[in-house]
Symmetry: C2
C-alpha cells in the first residue's frame, strides 16, 4: 500500500508555479491575491479559497488581507514543476522537432506527470541540459538554477558579434516573428548601427541577413559576446 504523503493536484501545482513567478518578479518575494488570480485567469474569490488550502498544506505563508510568500517546501515544489516544464520543452524542441513557439502549451500538460524515474531518465536522455529552448535556466534536482551571464541586446555596443541565448518575452507572436527573422537561439548577431532617436538597431544575423530591429524587440533579446 503506497502512502501519498504529499500529493498535489494539477491545480495546486499551477498556483504554486504562478506564485513562484510572481514572488520572484516582485523581488520583495511577496505576491497579492488579485495579481495571482489575474495570472491564472480565475477570479480573486477563487484564489482566496485556494490560498487557504495551500496555507493548510504549509506551502505558503499568508494571513487574511496580507501578502503571500512561499515556504521553503512551497519553493521546492514550484522549482520541481518548473524543472519538469523546461525539461519537457527541451525534449519537444530537441527530439521531436517542435519549434520554440509550440513547446510551451504541451509542456504545461507534461509538467504535471508524476514519476521520479521519468524525471531522472528524461534529464539523462537530454544530456542534463542547463537551459531550455527559450534560454531559461533549468533548475537541477536540488532546485539550483544555473546562471546565464547575458545582457540585453538593447544594451550592447556597435560592431561586436554576439549570440542569441535567450528571450524575455515568451509570447507566440514574438517567437514567431523571431523565427521569420532567423533570430533563433545560438544564432549570431552583429550590431552595425544604432539610431539615436528611437534606439532601433541595424543588425547582421548569422553573417547573412541584415535587418532593422526596434527597441521593443532588442529589449527582449538576451545575448552573449562571441570570442
Amino acid at each position: 500500500m503506497v502512502i501519498f504523503v504529499f500529493m498535489l493536484s494539477f491545480t495546486e501545482e499551477n498556483y504554486l508555479k504562478a506564485l513562484f513567478r510572481l514572488t520572484q518578479e516582485n523581488s520583495d518575494e511577496e505576491a497579492g491575491t488579485n495579481e495571482l488570480a489575474a495570472n491564472l485567469g480565475v477570479k480573486p474569490a477563487t484564489a482566496t479559497d485556494m490560498l487557504k488550502r495551500l496555507k493548510e498544506k504549509k506551502l505558503i505563508d499568508y494571513e487574511k488581507y496580507g501578502k503571500i510568500t512561499l515556504t521553503n517546501t512551497g519553493k521546492k515544489s514550484a522549482l520541481k514543476i518548473i524543472r519538469k516544464h523546461r525539461l519537457w520543452e527541451t525534449f519537444l524542441y530537441e527530439k521531436l522537432d517542435f519549434s520554440w513557439d509550440e513547446v510551451h502549451e504541451v509542456a504545461e500538460q507534461l509538467e504535471h506527470i508524476q514519476s521520479e524515474k521519468l524525471l531522472v531518465q528524461l534529464d539523462k536522455f537530454l544530456g542534463f541540459p542547463q537551459f531550455d529552448p527559450h534560454g531559461d535556466p533549468i533548475p537541477d534536482k536540488n532546485g539550483k538554477m544555473p546562471l546565464l551571464k547575458a545582457m540585453l541586446l538593447s544594451e550592447v555596443i556597435v560592431n561586436k558579434r554576439y549570440k542569441l541565448v535567450g528571450v524575455c518575452n515568451h509570447s507566440t507572436a514574438f517567437l514567431q516573428f523571431l523565427n521569420k527573422t532567423s533570430l533563433t537561439i545560438n544564432n549570431s548577431i552583429e550590431v552595425k548601427e544604432i539610431q539615436a532617436f528611437d534606439k532601433s538597431m541595424t543588425v547582421l544575423i548569422n553573417n547573412k541577413n541584415q535587418t532593422i530591429l526596434s527597441n521593443e524587440v532588442t529589449q527582449n533579446l538576451l545575448v552573449m559576446l562571441i570570442g
Copy 2:
C-alpha cells in the same frame, strides 16, 4: 479563439478505454455497468452517472438496464487513447531505459496529454512501432491494429526454436518474474521437454539458461517460430 468541439475529460477517457477492453473481451461487443465499475475501481452508481454523460455525448449506445456498446465515435476515441498509451510505453522502454514492468503506470498518465503534433512526432521519433514493450499491437492513426500471428508457448511442440513476442498477463509480479528468468521480448525459447502430468516445460532461453516453466506461465507467453 480555439473552439473545443470535442474535449474529453481525463475520467471520460478512462471510462472509454475500459469499455473498449470489456466489449472486446466479451466478444458479443457488450459490457455491463457492474463489470465496468469493478474494472475502474468505482461503485456501480458512479458508473451509471457517467454512462448517461457518455450517451449524451454519443460515445456509447445504452438504455436503462440494458447493455453498453461503443458507438463508432466512441471506438475511435478509445483507440486513440490506446495508441497514445502504447506509444508512450514504447518511448519509455526504448528511449528512457524503463523496464517493461515499469512503463504502464506512467503511460496511464501520459496517454491523456492532448496534442496532435506530439502524437505524430512521437510516432515518427520511435520509427512507427507496431507493437509495444509487452507485444501489444499499436493502433495506427486510423485506429487499425497490426495483426501478430503468434501462438501460446503452452501450445507449441518440442525441439523447435521460438522467440517471445508478447505476454497475456501484464501484472508487475509476472513481468518481474520474467525479467529474472531472462524471458524478455525477442529472446529465444527452445522447448526441450514437456511433462505430461502438469504440462510444465523444460526450456532453453537464449541458448544459455535452462529452466522449467509451469503451464500457468507458458499459457501467458506469446511466441513465434524462428526460421
